[in-house]
């Protein structure tokens, strides 16, 4: 059944793997990878804004990006958790297994929720 196609202008450079729900009003920039492990989900609500090169990896739970949340470029979110309404995550922030309360602002380059072994000689900017 070959039919004339509408070429997809966006989303072509976004990799989506597993159960990922992106609401209509959300914006996802190119170069993003959204990856949910089996039985895990990623939900991006209306009005959320996901910056370029962001990487979201849900495992052992769901990751929810609430409405109005803004993720800068190169943000990494791993594990499970909720990014609350109107949260502003600065570029290059890493969030591990943590929920961020609504309205919070996180400085660029922060590392939030890291309880793992540290690389010996690193200075931690914030938590």
């Amino acid at each position: 059944m070959p039919l004339p196609l509408i070429q997809p202008p966006s989303r072509s450079e976004v990799s989506i793997i597993g159960e990922v729900i992106i609401h209509e009003g959300a914006v996802v920039a190119p170069g993003t990878i959204l990856q949910a492990a089996p039985d895990c989900r990623i939900v991006i609500h209306q009005g959320a804004c996901i910056g370029m090169g962001t990487l979201i990896n849900a495992y052992q739970g769901d990751i929810e990006i609430k409405s109005g949340a803004m993720l800068g470029a190169g943000v990494l979110i791993v594990g499970q958790g909720t990014i609350g309404q109107n949260v502003c995550l600065g570029s290059c922030t890493t969030v591990i297994n943590t929920s961020i309360k609504s309205g919070t602002t996180i400085e660029a380059g922060s590392l939030v929720g890291d309880t793992s072994r540290q690389f010996p000689e690193k200075e931690s900017a914030s938590s």
Binding site: L3, L5, I6, S10, R11, I17, G18, A36, A37, Y59
Partner: protein, 274 residues
């Protein structure tokens, strides 16, 4: 060897469509982006993933034997020029035998002298870096003039002239280190030329197909394999969606596969951008 060069797009500030002037002995990888008034001298190596765009500030000059490694970005502001060694004005001047390493950002107005080394991910903006300087990794040099032969350690932020004047001199061991990084690139250069030669790449590709099957390691975290469909199916689904149909999905959980294990995935609405 494919040399890809393009005229700068007409912009409000530059209506001229200047083309790069590239010496025949220079190697410009086809996976790089080289546009506008850029002069590339003999034996220059421009690696993949570089973006050299003289579409705002122009012109750029890249001197003989200079190495531009992967991921380097060279761009210039519309205003502001530096005086090159030939007395002319340039937005970005890079001298002879310089080495601009991975992911460095050279943003004009900028002057980089002969034999300079700019380390990984360092930024040079609105600055002159004198001959023979070594700038290490993750450094920022802005609004200063670094005298010749200075050493800028990793992570340094040099944004006022007093800091620049206090920098230590380059030592022999620093030069040795820098030289090693250049050698790495020379080895890779063989690889580039190989990759552009079909006869050279065929055995590698065959090997590759074999070795993928050898890896059986799995991980609890991401055992979902990418759910890629054949392009035919994707095209059909897209055309159905574009006509306003909704699509429903039902699937069985592999691990709990038994009667009544089918789950309903809900319906998808058609959207123009999907």
């Amino acid at each position: 060897m494919v040399v890809r060069k393009r005229a700068a797009p007409p912009t409000p500030w530059s209506q001229t469509l200047a083309e790069p002037k590239i010496d025949d002995s220079a190697f410009v990888h086809s996976f790089s982006n080289l546009i506008g008034d850029v002069q590339v001298e003999a034996n220059v190596l421009i690696a993949p993933g570089t973006s050299i765009r003289a579409d705002e500030g122009t012109p750029f000059y890249i001197g003989e034997g200079t190495n531009i490694q992967d991921g380097v970005v060279i761009h210039g502001l519309e205003k502001g020029r530096v005086v090159g060694d030939d007395g002319q004005e340039y937005s970005v001047w890079i001298g002879k035998e310089a080495c601009i390493t991975h992911m460095a950002l050279i943003h004009g107005p900028a002057y980089i002298g002969d034999d300079c080394f700019i380390g990984f991910r360092s930024t040079i903006f609105n600055a002159r870096v004198g001959e023979g300087c070594i700038v290490m990794m993750h450094a920022l040099i802005q609004d200063v003039e670094v005298p010749p032969g200075k050493y800028v350690p990793s992570g340094a932020v040099i944004t006022n002239q007093q800091q620049a004047d206090r920098l230590p001199e380059v030592t022999e061991s620093d030069r040795h280190f820098a030289h090693h990084v250049v050698e790495v690139n020379e080895a890779l250069r063989v690889g580039y030329q190989c990759a552009e030669n079909q006869a050279c790449i065929t055995p590698i590709r065959q090997q590759l197909g074999k070795s993928i099957k050898d890896i059986n390691q799995s991980d609890y975290r991401n055992s979902v394999t990418s759910m890629s469909l054949s392009s035919n199916i994707v095209a059909q689904v897209r055309s159905l969606l574009s006509q306003g149909y909704s699509i429903g999905a039902e699937y069985a959980n592999k691990r709990r596969f038994k009667t009544k294990s089918w789950l309903t995935g809900g319906t998808f609405e058609g959207r123009a951008d999907q």
